[in-house]
């Protein structure tokens, strides 16, 4: 996009990055507005990272504080790793949204409010004793723009024959139109997208197009904005891109396993926020070799997956915290059976039901240790929405190669957040290579627990003549797999199962340090905190500070060089969205290493500014 598109009369400022937050009532369509703006930004070549933030209730009472839904997007002309700490632009569609979000808006930021929603009724619901729009501080503290979007939307649709309710629902497109004007986006792609979205209801499509255009034109003519902006395209790597959310990318990863191996991927699971999109997406892709099963509960979800794995399928289940608690006994069974299985845990605020729609990283220790008996398994964590694709494929590769269940941790932020995903070349994809035993493996007999040099057992599946065998949760003889209560055999089996998982270290790449190789401060991230920590390290180095960063993708086994890397730095800072679980784990794993723990557990991704401040205190 070039700045020449801007009509005369408005100065066009080129900016490197902007963080915009759309907030409104749950029924105001803020998730859609945010996603649409993200899409058009990505299509304009910007790097993007998003953070949808919505209540657990589907429709909390209209206009209430509890019902506020928000969508934040960070748009950059350069690499963007986070959805941004604080918005530069806040679009507030009602008083409750203003009340709950104004404090986050940067001082001097652009505040756009839908004045039409500031009725006495809505003000009361939001707990405003008087109309805040009459408050001088809004004008002095921010670039304040109040627009009666309700009235302007009604005006745009007068004579359309739509009901008042349908008309009211179009106002988010007014806001979107204005923002598209403000950020110098072309009209046509968005109009096309609206028609696509509402293709089954052409009258709504045309209404929304009209309102979108009205919002765009209003930005241009109302003289409320004295400049408009352009965020130049980001120098992303060459390739074809699309935007993905983490859950969508996770599902894409598993379906890609089915397509590249030609083997059935079986998904058994139970809907739970924020993981449900994974089973929903996979359920659509029946023609791609995926079989999905919505079970009666979390336990049956993983049980069906283990059953399918015994039958030779590449089995997956996905869940979130409470569901992982329910699946724990089954995980132990998968460990002792030594069958491949990927369990995705989309972490959310806990304990118990906690905060279902909010992000957290507090299942780490459970993922590592939360099983009875000695039951180690590989644990991986995805680092960004698009990385969920790679992590899903990698988790399946590891599960199949090592004949083991694998836990893949993502989180609510990754699940719902989105970013550009470069469509990979076939040759870049992890190779998932199931090997099925076809012949007896010892003196004409099949020994299901006779291992290869890496300690991996063979996988013989029903339907294979002559290899009929029984597996089960009772301790088994190290060779025949038959039940054994022999203590010596039990100890041998525990140690050999553990050693097998440790052997998977051959698949764990050594850590690469971002920044100075040794010295002052090392920031450590895992999973979804990658972006915030990376950005903080870059910001600190830009301030001239000697700050390095490593990111853990493998939580078990830990990378071979981790201890040595940690000891190269005077201070280690572990940043995570929990009460210090990785820090605790590292203390135990590397005696003498005593990280400083930086934690926030407020349902949101880590703020870069807070981490920067913390490191500056230490330095």
């Amino acid at each position: 996009m070039s700045t020449q598109n801007a009509p005369p009369g408005h100065k066009v400022a080129e900016i490197e990055t902007v963080t915009i937050r759309f907030v409104g009532d749950s029924g105001d369509g803020m998730q859609l507005t945010g996603a649409e703006f993200t899409r058009s930004s990505a299509l304009a070549g910007n790097d993007v990272a998003t953070f949808p933030d919505f209540p657990a209730e589907i429709r909390a009472p209209a206009g209430s504080l509890a019902g506020v839904s928000g969508y934040q997007v960070n748009i950059g002309a350069h690499d963007v790793h986070t959805p941004g700490d604080a918005p530069d632009v806040l679009v507030a569609m009602n008083p409750a949204a203003l009340k709950t979000n104004l404090a986050d808006l940067k001082s001097g930021g652009l505040l756009i409010v839908n004045a039409g929603a500031f009725t006495p009724q809505n003000l009361e619901k939001a707990g405003y004793p008087k109309n805040p729009l009459e408050d001088e501080t809004l004008r002095s503290g921010y670039r304040y723009v109040a627009i009666d979007m309700n009235r302007l939307t009604e005006a745009a649709l007068s004579g359309s024959g739509l009901s008042a309710k349908d008309v009211a629902r179009c106002k988010n497109y007014f806001a979107l139109g204005m923002l598209n004007w403000l950020y110098s986006r072309p009209l046509e792609p968005q109009i096309e997208a609206i028609r696509q979205r509402f293709q089954k209801k052409p009258e709504l499509a045309e209404a929304n197009v009209k309102v979108f255009q009205a919002g765009y034109a209003y930005g241009d003519t109302c003289e409320l904005f004295y400049e408009r902006y352009v965020v130049p395209a980001s120098p992303l790597a060459k390739g074809t891109y699309r935007t993905v959310t983490g859950n969508h990318a996770t599902a894409l990863g598993f379906a890609t396993v089915a397509k590249t191996t030609g083997r059935q991927v079986f998904f058994g699971g139970y809907p739970i926020t924020p993981s449900s999109e994974i089973i929903q997406d996979l359920s659509k892709w029946k023609e791609h070799g995926v079989v999905t099963f919505q079970a009666e509960d979390e336990i049956a979800g993983i049980g069906s997956a283990i059953g399918a794995a015994y039958g030779g399928a590449l089995a997956v289940t996905a869940t979130s915290g409470p569901g992982l608690s329910l699946k724990v006994e089954m995980l132990g069974l998968a460990v002792i059976l030594e069958l491949p299985l990927v369990v995705v845990d989309v972490q959310r605020g806990g304990p118990s039901t906690g905060m279902p729609t909010k992000t957290e990283q507090a299942d780490l220790l459970m993922a590592l240790f939360g099983r009875h008996g000695e039951a180690p398994m590989p644990v991986l964590a995805a680092q960004s929405p698009a990385d969920c694709f790679w992590a899903a494929m990698e988790a399946m590769r590891v599960a199949v190669k090592w004949m083991t269940p694998v836990l893949l941790l993502t989180d609510g932020y990754l699940a719902n957040g989105s970013e550009p995903f470069r469509i990979p070349d076939l040759s870049e994809l992890p190779k998932v290579e199931p090997r099925y035993q076809r012949e007896p493996n010892r003196e004409g007999k099949y020994m299901p627990y006779l291992r290869d040099e890496k300690l991996v057992r063979p996988w013989a599946v029903p339907g294979t003549p002559g290899l009929e065998h029984r597996v089960g949760g009772l301790e088994k003889d190290s060779l025949t797999g038959m039940v054994s209560y022999d203590g010596t055999n039990h100890e041998h089996m525990i140690r050999i199962r553990a050693q097998k998982i440790r052997n998977a270290i051959e698949d764990v790449p050594d850590l690469a340090v971002d920044g100075p190789e040794k010295g002052e401060v090392l920031l450590v991230s895992w999973g979804g905190t990658y972006g915030s920590v990376r950005t903080a390290a870059e910001a600190l180095r830009a301030q001239g500070k000697a700050v390095s960063h490593v990111h853990l993708r493998w939580l078990y086994p830990l990378p071979r060089n981790l201890g040595e890397v940690l000891r190269r730095f005077r201070r280690v800072v572990v940043a995570e969205v929990n009460d210090g679980q990785l820090a605790f784990y590292l203390r135990g794993s590397y005696p003498g290493v005593d990280p400083v723990s930086h934690t926030r557990i407020n349902g949101k991704p880590l703020k870069v500014s807070e981490l920067v401040e913390k490191v500056n205190q230490i330095l």
């Binding site: 074809t240 891109y241 791609h288 049980g303 399918a308 039958g311 029903p462 339907g463 029984r470 949760g473």
Partner: protein, 348 residues
Amino acid sequence: MSPPPQATAPTYTKKDFESGVDPRWCPGCGDYSIINQVQRTLPLAGVARENIVFVSGIGCSSRFPYYMRNYGMHTVHGRAPSFATGLKLSRPELEVWVVTGDGDALAIGGNHFIHAVRRNVDIKILVFNNRIYGLTKGQVSPTSELGKKTKTTPHGSPDYPFNPPALALGAGATFVARSIDVEGPHLGGVLKAAQEHRGTAFVEVFQNCPVFNDGAYGFLTEKATKPETQLRMEHGKPLLFGKDMRKGIRFEPRTARLEVVTVGEKGITEADVLVHDAQRDDPTFAFMLANLDHSPGFPTPIGVFRDVRRPTADEITWQLIDSARSSSRRQLSVAEFLAAGETWTVNG
């Protein structure tokens, strides 16, 4: 991963289904006669041994797969139907049997049981019902009688028991049957019917636990009393019982109840006696029969309560997959699949 095609149906004997591991059930346990009947029944159908999988939960009955020379999974308590469902959906060509007990299937596993039945997934579920927890040494089970004294109910059980066939019928079962461990030929016949059924086949087997609940079914198995207490249901035959087969079950239309009548008395003829129809789509009569033994003065029905054909979960699942495959114009490449939707290109 379909099994290699078989030129001819294999011919097996009972021995071909014995794993060679000596069962470790207590002497006199009813499980011995049940496994004996299963091993005698399987050769009759000629299904290849490697295409049969036994899946079990936890409990005495659930050791069953270890003693069968098929593929087998001994899983976790109560959840066997979930493994069996996943396996069958994934590999619909396999024949999948679930072996479970009253505690495993109806207490901890009650939810999985009713949902497997509801879906009509093509698996056989054998519930060995001894009305007691055996492996944990004698606690009350969900089929123990009200007032039953056990280790955890020393003053008598305060809980009403499940009626397993009625429960299965209520969940929409397409095949419901009952037999008794010691009634070998009868049990064999029921197992064969279950094997031939497409859909969830639920078989309750009254099984004696000689250690913790000995004689629980004595009233049904004692030579002297069983003609009066057993009602052997056979499809298409009148529901007659008694020493000389003169007692029968009649539907009394005025009260909509089943009643016991005697043929030759009070003008009753055989034409008054209900003819058993296991293939009737409406499960109402099957349900009435399933509740008979809970009414005083009535015999206990054994045999097949219900046997109807409905599309199974696995059939429907694969029909949907096949139709998705045939309606997609062509198989997308990985790159095309990943690039679905809106994309843009960066020429770096």
